[in-house]
Symmetry: C2
Subunit: 421 residues, 2 copies
């Protein structure tokens, strides 16, 4: 008999993995009336149609055509300059000592994260993550055969530094400390916990990691940083905290969430030259540069008043949608049923924990009831490296139309009350 194609280890790994997104989309397609609190999409209503159109026209009429030509592997020079300015614009970070050579533009922040993991981890190696963590990142790790190990966190998702120290000790005892190659943090309005990392946690982590013999690079993913509701979160980024010294820290940011997901432009920033040069080489192999056109559009908009006004508008928009979702959940009795959540102060998500015994996993009675009632959520267990607890859900108020959120909240609460813990 003829044999099949011989796949690489990575190919086999990818074949075995199931994609949550694919599964959620299949659910949605087979139930067209489904209301989705699952999708992490932004709201079409506040996508910056006018701004992109204006920028496209300005570029089209500029007389030069460099935006339609190949650009630099590391990214559009103007854009990288503005990214440095952007990073300096946050509270307490005005004196950030950075230059555009320390920025690499990527296809969304996802490509940046992928390259970092490729660069640092062989199959079987370990990345330390928060508990819960971003489930698409956890899938990325699986796809590369890399193990995610959770740092101990409290119920709200805050990292327990002493617990993490104990974790590292036990890894050392097992001879696995050398396998720890990277730490992945979500700094602001984390997906899914919506928590912001405070400075004491970051500096505690700095002390802990700097005490190790080998520097384990730390990545702070700030995808939601711009989407604050009341005020910028006051904690400075790891780039700005002196306690990290010359430890290799990498900042990952994006223009997808705050501006337009369809332009697919993210970036990473680091002062570690060797590390960034290596990222650039891998990026060179993958695509030798992101689309110059979408980069040019963003570069031309960042310094404008309209861009700032756009951000103000989207913040207000998502704050309002958060309120609508929260009011709906309260009105329909979710709190009385024993569910808990912290009010999100930014981002597109609400992270809720059901009472003990609740099981929200895919295929659970709870999940089947939701599919029946045509309401979608992301089962919380998918956001944990160790696949528990099972009582959490990630609800998104990003993509669903504002007018449909009350009905979505009603359906979800009904299912939660019917399924019970």
């Amino acid at each position: 008999m003829k044999e099949g194609i011989a796949y690489s280890k990575l190919g086999l790994c990818a074949r075995e993995g199931e994609s949550v997104i694919t599964r959620l989309m299949a659910d949605k397609l087979s139930h067209p009336e489904m209301l989705s609190l699952a999708a992490g999409f932004t709201d079409n209503l506040v996508l910056p149609e006018d701004l992109v159109l204006k920028a496209s026209v300005r570029l089209g009429e500029s007389g030069h055509k460099t935006h339609l030509q190949y650009g630099m592997n590391r990214g559009h020079p103007e854009l990288r300059k503005w990214i440095v300015e952007l990073l300096r614009s946050y509270p307490g970070e005005g004196h950030l000592d950075l230059n555009p050579e320390q920025v690499i533009v990527t296809n969304g922040s996802q490509q940046g994260l992928y390259i970092l993991v490729q660069m640092l981890c062989d199959p079987g190696d370990i990345v330390l993550v928060e508990s819960p963590s971003y489930f698409v990142f956890l899938e990325l790790l699986k796809g590369l055969g890399v193990r995610a190990v959770s740092m101990p966190c409290d119920d709200s998702g805050r990292i327990d530094i002493e617990g993490t120290e104990a974790l590292l000790e036990s890894l050392r005892d097992n001879g696995e400390l050398d396998a720890v190659r990277m730490v992945y943090l979500m700094g602001a309005f984390a997906n899914p916990s919506t928590l912001c990392l405070d400075e004491p946690t970051k500096t505690g982590l700095a002390r802990l990691l700097r005490s190790l013999q080998r520097p384990v690079p730390v990545v702070e993913d700030m995808a939601y940083r711009e989407l604050y509701f009341e005020q910028p979160f006051p904690a400075r980024s790891i780039l700005a905290l002196e306690e990290w010294g010359d430890h290799p820290v990498i900042y990952a940011g994006t223009f997808t969430k705050p501006f337009a997901t369809g332009l697919k432009i993210g970036f990473m920033v680091s002062r570690d030259t060797e590390c960034l040069d290596t990222v650039a080489k891998i990026k060179g192999h993958q695509d030798f540069g992101s689309a110059n056109y979408t980069q040019s559009i963003i570069a031309s908009l960042i310094p404008t008043r309209e861009y700032k006004e756009h951000l103000i508008r989207v913040r207000a928009h998502y704050r309002d949608k958060r309120n609508v979702l929260e009011e709906g959940l309260v009105r329909h009795g979710l709190r009385e049923a024993g569910w808990k959540w912290e009010q999100p102060q930014g981002g597109l998500l609400l992270w809720a924990r059901g009472p003990a015994g609740t099981d929200t996993r895919m295929g659970s009675p709870f999940h089947r009831l939701c599919v029946e009632k045509e309401i979608m959520y992301v089962p919380g267990d998918l956001c944990f490296a160790e696949e528990k607890p099972w009582n959490c859900v990630r609800l998104s108020f990003g993509a669903l139309e504002r007018s449909l959120i009350p009905e979505a909240a009603r359906r979800f609460c009904e299912a939660a009350l019917d399924a019970g813990p």
Copy 2:
């Protein structure tokens, strides 16, 4: 002493590799008057500024905003539909039995090639390539720790099927046949040889590869297919040749070269569902979809008359520039000096072989003389997996302004005559 960051095998591989592009760009930057026949860029003059502007305006005024939103991981559905139509539009391929589910849109064709190699090859595995082959692909392989092995080819770059059979036999004898995981071909106006694969070669290869116990997937890179000068090359693509049967064949195409490099949209097509599903999963980990905006622009343009007119215009433009370059080389005595080349019938390149003894490698007297005379080329040895012969050069008439090509030709010939073989 404190240790450095622990890199993965891939990270170390990337750190060690030198990028030719980087080196060429450094040469250019330190000699601003340098005329470049090295860059594989397209000509700014024929970049479709008007078309992209029109499409952007049409999208901006459409009232829907899906082009600014996340799209599907496999790519924009309309675009994939038009790609199928495009493939059916080539001579003799009207009945190609394909559907949009067999297309995946990528960040240039480069990302598609990268994912295929990741999926099929572990470090140390072998990809069979033409001799010469595309040097950026050879670098990609090095970056993933994969070995390129040349199929025997004649002087013009045509694959010797019997020689390839003997190569496979000797790999079998060495116990390395199982390490052969992929075959990479450039089907039309190959980079750098400008050769087109004829049907007898493709079907000969089909017979040979189908006789193996394990199917080794074959990738036909058709990046330059649209850039023909007189008429479409008559050989059908591997997708259309019955001789391949159900052998896993993958077609890689792009809109960068014929349309706009700055939009960075390529694609791959295959009927092998398992293979394509696995590519999609890896793409999902890398970026979960290329920029929807640039895809929407192209999708809206392909079916228009203007798009076809654009292609006619660029073909004429590059044919003319080929003529100017060739005339310059002849006028300044390159043929008399013993150099040989075949007239390119498409693409952006001219592949020339110096007389025996010529050494065009980087750092050679020939190369230094060119840098001195401020003229750049790609040393031909970089285009061979085994790094020889040394007597070839790749000259591009793509990016350099038409009016500067005669002077560039003059400088190159002067260097060639001065350096001698």
